[in-house]
Amino acid sequence: MARPTEVLGAIDGFGLAGSATALAAIAPIVALAVIAFGGDGELWRHLFSTVVPRATIETAILAAGVAAFVGVVGTGTAWIVATRDFPGRRVVEVLLLLPLAFPAYVLAYSWLDLLHPIGPIQSTLRAILGYERPADFRLPEVRSLPGAILIFGLALYPYVYVATRGVFLARTTTLVEAARMLGARPSRVFFRVALPLARPAIAAGAALAVMETLNDVGAAEFLSVNTLTTAVYSTWVNRSDLPGAAQIALAMLAFVLGLLLLERLGRGERGYAVFGRAGRPMGPRPAEGAAGFGLFLVCLLPSFFGFVLPAAHLLRQAWERLAFAGLAEEIVAETVGTILLAASATVIGVTLAALLVSGRRLHPDSRPHGLAPRIASVGYAVPGTVLAIGLLVVYGAFDTTLRATVVALGGAPTGLVISASFAGLVIALVLRFFRLAASKIETGLERISPSLEQSARMLGRGPFGAMRAVHLPLLTPAYAGAALLFFVDCMKELPATLLLRPLGFETLSTRLYGEAARGTYENGALAACLIVAFGLLPIILMTRIGRLSPVPTTSAAEGEPA
C-alpha cells in the first residue's frame, strides 16, 4: 500500500535512473521468455530431446568438476599460506592470485598451443623419451571434459583462494587458538573448526567459479565441450534460430537459478557470527627444510600451471610474432576499440551504480529506490550468452517498431539502429557488470555513517545535494576501484561482445576467439598478452591493499552472486 507521497517521492533523478536501469535489466529476460514460448512447440520437443539433455549433462559434469577442483585447490592453498610459514611463502601468496588475470578462454588458448602434438611440451617429452614421430607418443587429449575441468579449475580456483584466505587469516584466529588449547592437532583444527567456518566462503567462491564456467563460451568451444552456453551460441550463430537459442538460454537460466538456490541452501541455519569480528591474524607455524620446500612446491603448482607457464608461452609467441611480422595495424586498432568500448561502458555503469546505490541509501523508506539496484543487478547472474540473446530480441523489436513508426509517419524506413551497434554493445556490458560496480560502491558506502548524509539533509541539502556533498568526495576511492574492476571485466568479456558487436568491430577478445577458431594461435598471442596485462591491474591493486589490511578485498569476494 504505497502512500501518495511515497510514489511521488520516487519520481526524482534517483528514481528515474533506477527505474530505467531496472527496466533495461529485466527486458532481455522477459524478451527471452516471450520469444521462447512464442516459438514452435515442435521445436521445444526437438531441442529437449536432442541438444539440451546432452548439453545439460556435460554442463553439470563440468560445473561439478570445476567446483570440486577450485574447492580443494583454493581452500588447501589458502590454509597452507595462512597457517604455515616457509621460505618463499610471500611469493606464492601473490603468485596464487595471478590466474585471476587469465580469462578461461585465454588460458585454454595458451594451453592448447602448449600441448599441441607438435607444440613445445610434447616435442620436448618426445625428445627426452626418444620417440621420433608424434604418432608414436601422445599425451591424453586436452580437448576433453577432464581437460576442460583442469583448465577451468586452474583459471578459477583463485576465487575460492581469496575468499577462504580472508577467513583463515583474520577471522578464525581466536577459535583456532581455542581449539589448540583444547588439545586439537592441526588436522583436527582444520577439519573441525577452520573448514566449517570457511564453508560459506568456499561455497561463495565455488559458486562464482561455476558461474564463470557457465558464462564462458570460448574455452568450452576450444576444448570441444558441449555446454549449454555453446549450444545457445551455435543455435543462434550457425542456425540463426533465435527462438531455439532463447529456449536453451531459458533452460540455462533455470540451471543457474538452481545453482544459486543450492548455494543459499548449503549455507543452512548454522551460525557464522564470528565473521563480524576481524581479529589479529594467526601467527603462522614455521616449516623448514624439506617440509617447507614441499609446502612451497604444493602452493607453486597451481600458479605455475595456471599462470607462469601459459603466460610465459604467450609472451614468447607474441615476441616471436612481433620480431617476425612487426606490430600489425589491426592489433592497435583493436586495442583502441577495446579500450573505447570498455571505457564507455565503465563510465555509464559506474555512474548508474553510484546513483542507484546512493539513491537507495538516501531514500531508506522508499521501496522503489530500494529495489532498483537489486533488479539492475540480475545481469551479473545471467550468463553473457543468455543476456546477449535476450538483448538481440529486445534490440530487434526496438528497431522493427522504430521503422514501422517512422514509415507510418511518412519517413524513409530506418535500418538497424541499435541492433549490432556500439551503443547496443555498451548497454549489454553495463547490464552485465552493473552488480560488480554496485557491490564495490556499496561496500564503500557501508563504511560511511548514515548520520553524515542525514546531517547534510538537516543542513539544507536535498538527496542529490547530500550525495554530492558527502558520498561523492568520500567514495572517490570506491568509485575508482569499481571503475577499474568494471573496465577490466569489460575488456575480457567475450560471449556478449561476440554476439552483439557491430559488423567488422573487433576487440582483443573477439580477435583471440577468431584466431583460435582458425587455428592460427600465434597471431592471437599478442591480443592474449594484452588481455592478461590489463587483467593484472586489479590484482596489483588488490595485493597492495592486502598489504595494508589483513583481509584483502577483491572482485571475487565482493562480486559474489546475489
Binding site: S451, L452, Q454, S455, A456, L459, G460, V470
Partner: protein, 351 residues
C-alpha cells in the same frame, strides 16, 4: 496554552514493522525552551527526535513547528526544508571538510561575507578560533562535540535537536560541556529538544523533562517536579535508587515499620512506600530509630553505608558525609526526612 509552540507533536504514532516505537506522543516545546526527552534505551525517544527532524515518517499523528505543519494529514516536509538543526550522537562531522567548511555547510547560498563572519563568530563562541583549518579527526572529543553543536546552530534554526549530545564524553568533560551547551543555546534563543538516557544530563540542561517509557510520555515537568513528585514508582526510581517497603493505607496514611507517611487520595489497602537514599539522616536532630552499621565504604565525597534498622527486615543503603566516621557493627541513630518519601498504590508497581 496561549503560546505558539516552537515544536509540537500531536498524538504521534510510529512502528518499525510490527514493533511499536511510539504509541501516541503529544508534546509542545515553547520558543526558547530546552526540553529533555529522558528514558531508558528503546523507549522511543530517539524515534521521536528523528520524526521531528524528518528522518523518519510518523505512521500517524501530526508534527508542527510554529504554525507550520511538518508531518501528518498527508503532508511530509523533507528534512532539508524544515529549518531544524540536529546534532547527531556521533557528531557526523564531515571528515573530508575542515572545521570552517563544516560550520559553513548549512550556510550555502548566504553571502560570502556573512558566512565568514558567522563562522568566525561561532569559532569564537566555542573557543576554537585559529583551528578553522583543522580536520575533524585532529580535534579532541570535546572539540568535536562543540563543532557539531555550532554547525547545527549555524543556520540559526528556531529548533535544535540533540541526540545524546554528551554520551561520547567522559564524566569530567561532560560537566563542563553541559554548561557550555546551555550557554550557547541561551545565546541564540533556539528552542531545543535533547534526547538522553542520563537523568543528570537532563537535570543539568533542561527547563522541562519529558520522561518516556515504552513509546509513551509518562510525565512532563520541570526537574524539580519530576524529582519531587514522580507519577509512579518507575518514574521515581529512574532518577535515583529507592528503598521500598510495603505499607497499608488507612484514612489517608500509609503505615510502615518506619512509621506512617501521608498518602493523600489513596484508597485503603496495600501500597508501596519508596524512600530516596537521602531520606535517611544519620545527623538528624530528632532521630526516630536505632540502627546497626553493616558496612561502610569511603567513595570520595560520600561514604556509602548499609544499615540494619531495628524493626525492619531488610537492610537499607544510604550515604553520609565522608567526614562522618562510622564503625562497622556500631550503633547509630537514624532520622527520616518524610518529604523524600513517595507512596504509590500497589497496582502501579511493575517490573
Amino acid at each position: 496554552m496561549s503560546f505558539v509552540p516552537a515544536l509540537a507533536f500531536d498524538a504521534v504514532h510510529h512502528a518499525y514493522g510490527r514493533t511499536t516505537a511510539l504509541a501516541g506522543v503529544s508534546l509542545a516545546i515553547r520558543p526558547g525552551e530546552v526540553v529533555a526527552l529522558l528514558g531508558p534505551s528503546g523507549c522511543g525517544k530517539t524515534t521521536l527526535l528523528r520524526i521531528a527532524a524528518g528522518l523518519e515518517r510518523p505512521s500517524r499523528g501530526r508534527v508542527s513547528a510554529g504554525d507550520r505543519p511538518l508531518a501528518g494529514d498527508g503532508i511530509f516536509v523533507q528534512p532539508e526544508k524544515r529549518g531544524i538543526g540536529l546534532m547527531f550522537q556521533d557528531y557526523a562531522l564531515f571528515p573530508h571538510l575542515d572545521v570552517a567548511a563544516n560550520l559553513a555547510f548549512g550556510l550555502a547560498g548566504w553571502p560570502e561575507g556573512i558566512v565568514r563572519a558567522t563562522v568566525a563568530d561561532l569559532l569564537a563562541r566555542i573557543g576554537l578560533t585559529g583551528r578553522e583549518r583543522a580536520y575533524p579527526h585532529m580535534l579532541s572529543g570535546g572539540e568535536q562535540q562543540r563543532v557539531a553543536l555550532a554547525r547545527a546552530m549555524a543556520p540559526r534554526p528556531a529548533v535544535l535537536l540533540m541526540d545524546e549530545p554528551f554520551s561520547n564524553l567522559d564524566q569530567r568533560l561532560r560537566r563542563g560541556m553541559r554548561s557550555e551547551t546551555i550557554g550557547l543555546l541561551r545565546a541564540t534563543g533556539a528552542a531545543a529538544l535533547m534526547v538522553t538516557h542520563d537523568p543528570d544530563d537532563a537535570m543539568a540542561v533542561a527547563d522541562r523533562i519529558a520522561l518516556m517509557r515504552g513509546g509513551r510520555i509518562v510525565q512532563v515537568g520541570t526537574p524539580e517536579e519530576v524529582w519531587h513528585r514522580p507519577v509512579d514508582r518507575w518514574a521515581a526510581a529512574f532518577f535515583a535508587d529507592l528503598e521500598e517497603m510495603p505499607a497499608r493505607v488507612r484514612n489517608g496514611r500509609a503505615e510502615t515499620p518506619l512509621g506512617s507517611f501521608a498518602a493523600p487520595g489513596l484508597a485503603d489497602g496495600s501500597a508501596l512506600v519508596c524512600l530516596r537514599r537521602d531520606a535517611f539522616d544519620l545527623a538528624a536532630a530528632d532521630p526516630e530509630f536505632a540502627a546497626t552499621v553493616l558496612s561502610a565504604r569511603f567513595i570520595g565525597e560520600h561514604r556509602t553505608v548499609r544499615l540494619a534498622i531495628d524493626g525492619l527486615e531488610r537492610p537499607v543503603d544510604t550515604h553520609v558525609d565522608a567526614k562522618h566516621a562510622l564503625e562497622v557493627g556500631g550503633r547509630v541513630a537514624v532520622g527520616i526526612d518524610r518529604s523524600q518519601a513517595f507512596v504509590f498504590a500497589e497496582e502501579e508497581c511493575d517490573g
